[in-house]
């Protein structure tokens, strides 16, 4: 059996970024994912902020990799991969002038880590630039390099480009056994198949502790910390011009007002430890906490603006990322405990891992035919009427609207499926169909019929997010 040079466990943003980085080189890479599609773990439910790099403990991996990740995304990656990265900037708001010295400290710590353009802005600046802020906000730290991204589309872009450059992706492949042979080559059992690889990277997010245990490593206990987030109607798109944080206290960065790259503003997240790595439930208390926090900064936000909500779990393993070679198991690397700001840091984590792997003997010779560019999918909601007209002339399917709330055409849904969508959530994350105010009330059946056509899939086999989440139970005879 062929041995891959590297096997990556987990196709979240960490694994995807590493796969894409390694795909520059003449190495064979296997990317194993237990879910039906990439990005169905932590990487799908987060705030989507590309942090500037403030507020991380000086000297930590988080601090260094966050600043570097921000630069990589804003620089080469957004352009090469056609990412919807929007550098809207961030404000850290203070309610009490007595807190200004704390803001000054965040500023000087950020500057020491290389965060550019930080400046403290006063009430007058805020009134001119963020008119919906409530009267309680007195001043803020402006971080112009922060931005936002669609987290799942970021992962899809990385995976698609990695695959175009030779990475082999296997979804529905849960790693269930790991052993290291006498020849130093690892054998992995995933989804009933056996694979061999010379190097293995554990990027399994919330399940990294289980992977470590399978490999016989001492555990690094993952303590999930839950965050509930609430999305507002797209009608409220212009409520904020920046991502707005309150001055943080304690464990989390506080309740934020987040612009998203799709237009719907979002408020959240909460931060509460939970013992259960499958607990993605939202609660009445979470909603109340988020609303109160957001309304303190922007009193005009109301409960009736909320159209959707979700919870995500931060895979915290102590206070910092765990990124290292496991000396007890030569050839095995950990990228665990990738809590916030993991989405931002992922490209820098990938570079760091690649260097660690090279240090252990993985030969990184550049591929001559590496293709860094990925064609950006079309989203009608982002293009001008002139462009829409051209697209429809190219393919009438662009004029066939399936999702009326978010204006998604049949052609976009077919494209998403061609690019790898296999579930209704996969279609939603890629296209936004079903993500609007009616939650698929109008378009779900049509999307299921398109999936039937494109994938020869019986409607009984269409799922929300993989086996067990079938949409319907029977067909009438």
């Amino acid at each position: 059996m062929k041995a891959f040079d590297a096997a990556i466990i987990g196709a979240g943003v960490t694994g995807a970024a590493l796969a894409r980085e390694l795909s520059r080189y003449r190495v064979s890479v296997l990317l194993l994912e237990k879910e039906a599609e990439p990005a169905f773990g932590v990487s799908k439910s987060n705030s989507g902020i590309i942090h500037a790099g403030t507020q991380n403990p000086p000297g930590s991996l988080k601090a260094r990799l966050c600043v570097e990740g921000n630069r990589l995304i804003a620089g080469p990656l957004a352009a090469e991969l056609g990412l919807d990265f929007i550098r809207c900037g961030q404000l850290i708001a203070v309610f009490d002038p007595a807190d200004l010295p704390r803001l000054e400290r965040i500023k000087s710590e950020g500057e020491a880590m290389g965060v550019e353009g930080l400046r403290i802005v006063d009430r007058a600046w805020l009134e001119a630039n963020e008119p919906n802020l409530g009267p309680e906000v007195r001043a803020a730290l402006f971080c112009p390099t922060a931005g936002m991204i669609s987290p799942y589309r970021f992962v899809y872009a990385l995976v698609e480009n990695a695959a175009a450059n030779g990475t082999e992706l296997r979804t529905g492949s849960e790693v269930a056994a790991i052993s290291r042979g006498a020849d130093g080559v690892f054998a992995l059992v995933a989804g009933g198949q056996e694979y061999r690889a010379r190097f293995v990277v554990n990027a399994a997010g919330l399940y990294a502790d289980r992977i470590a245990a399978l490999a016989g490593l001492p555990p690094y206990p993952i303590k999930p910390r839950k965050g509930e987030e609430y999305l507002l109607d797209r009608k409220r798109e212009h409520i904020a011009n920046h991502i707005i944080f309150p001055l943080p206290s304690g464990k989390s960065k506080g309740i934020l007002i987040i612009k998203t790259s799709d237009g719907n503003p979002m408020i959240g997240p909460t931060a509460h430890d939970t013992g259960d790595s499958g607990d993605l439930s939202t609660t009445d208390e979470g909603l109340a906490e988020v609303l109160a926090g957001a309304r303190r900064m922007m009193p005009s936000i109301s409960r009736s603006d909320i159209i959707a909500y979700f919870a995500g779990l931060r895979p915290a393993a102590g206070d910092d990322f765990v990124i290292r070679h496991e000396d007890a198991l030569p050839g095995f690397f950990s990228a665990a405990g990738i809590q916030s700001p993991g989405l931002t840091a992922a490209p820098a984590i990938a570079l760091m891992l690649a260097r660690l792997m090279e240090g252990r003997g993985l030969k990184l010779e550049p591929k001559k035919d590496f293709r860094p560019l990925r064609e950006k999918p079309v989203h009608l909601f982002q293009v001008s009427p002139e462009r829409t007209r051209e697209l429809i002339a190219e393919d009438p399917g662009y004029g066939d609207i399936v999702c009326r709330c978010e204006m998604v055409s049949a052609r976009e849904i077919r494209d998403a499926i061609k690019r790898g969508a296999r579930t209704l959530d996969g279609v939603k994350f890629r296209t936004r169909a079903q993500a609007g105010r009616c939650h698929g009330g109008f378009c779900t059946t049509r999307i299921m019929k398109i999936m039937r056509e494109e994938l020869a899939l019986s409607p009984l086999a269409v799922t929300k997010r993989g086996a067990g989440s079938e949409i319907i139970k029977d067909e009438r005879k």
Partner: protein, 326 residues
């Protein structure tokens, strides 16, 4: 740019009745734009009887009721119908842009009638805490699955809300062999018609829990059950009254909202409470020459009244045009 005297957006019962009434009142150049591949709107999925008792003194199904208006529309050559055509924009100058397979069209209308119907309130709007598995559907989506596609969404269902769609779907599911465990209503009276409570629940032995709410949804991939709790007069949960129901499906029928996003984007005043247009005159909007009718004007119980009132909107548009408006 193409010019039209009257553009009607939405080809459900409201749009058809308005277009036909405007034509009967003398308008000669009407474009009726419908997103779907056929006229009739939501009526196409309402295969149960009970439509037209007032209008036609006959007990029709939804498609039969719609068909009478489809015929009246087809019989009027002054009404041009554009199907599979989705209106994306309305401006205060009454320019209407729409997408259809093969084209992005723009027309300039002298008058516009908006008849875009309504959407269902969702689980997210109440909101019901818990997980977000497959199996939680707006009741109207379940109706469409069963009646239009022959797809049975589940085997054991709990229905949230006692609106007519929820009641009708309780019966529809029961007829398909689905075990309907309960209908849960937070108020102390049903929202739907009494005849529906009798015919859809009592005749099928489906329990109705009034002054109760679904407090939580369980299940990771597919719904596994719900917690139900009694509420007091302030709608607060009564401690100790919780009980659980196992089910694989939750249908949500908690009201309808007029669809007026196009009108709102055009700058028309919208009542934030009802999502209906605010207007000084009957069936009008705050933009002169733009009218609204049917479920996008306000949510109706019976289609008979939709037809009646939409005809008034059609006449009002005709009068506006006759008044020499540009």
């Amino acid at each position: 740019m193409k010019k039209r005297d009257l553009v009607v957006v939405g080809g459900g019962p409201a749009g058809m009745a308005a277009a036909r009434a405007a034509r009967d009142a003398g308008v000669r150049d009407i474009l009726l734009i419908e997103r779907d591949s056929h006229l009739g709107g939501i009526l196409n999925q309402c295969i149960h009887p009970g439509f037209g008792l007032h209008r036609f003194k006959a007990e029709l199904t939804g498609p039969e009721y719609a068909d009478r208006f489809v015929k009246m529309t087809a019989a009027a050559p002054e009404i041009e119908v554009s199907l599979r055509s989705f209106v994306v924009k309305l401006t205060p100058e009454k320019r209407v842009s729409y997408l259809r397979p093969g084209a992005l069209e723009e027309v300039e209308a002298r008058a516009v009638i908006m008849a875009t119907g309504c959407r269902e309130r969702t689980r997210e709007m109440i909101p019901i805490p818990g997980t977000r598995p497959a199996g939680v559907y707006p009741a109207g989506l379940a109706q469409k699955m069963i009646n239009m596609e022959g797809w049975i969404p589940g085997r054991e269902a709990v229905i949230v809300g006692s609106g007519d769609i929820g009641l009708i779907m309780a019966r529809r599911m029961a007829l398909e062999g689905v075990k309907v465990k309960a209908v849960i209503e937070i108020q102390d009276k049903t929202r739907g018609l009494v005849r529906n409570v009798v015919q859809c629940l009592e005749d099928f032995g489906i329990p109705l829990y009034m002054r109760h709410k679904v407090a939580r949804i369980y299940g990771r991939d597919r719904v596994e059950g719900v917690d139900v709790v009694r509420v007091d007069d302030n709608l607060a949960a009564v401690p100790g009254s919780e009980f659980s129901l196992a089910c694989d499906t939750v249908l949500v029928s908690v009201g309808l909202i007029p669809e007026n996003e196009l009108l709102e984007a055009a700058g028309a005043a919208i009542d934030p409470r009802t999502n209906g247009p605010v207007s000084a005159e009957l069936k009008g909007t705050s933009i002169p020459g733009v009218f609204a009718c049917g479920n996008s004007f306000k949510v109706y119980d019976l289609v008979d009244w939709v037809s009646r009132d939409s005809e008034l909107a059609g006449k009002a548009a005709a009068a506006y045009l006759a008044g020499g408006a540009r």
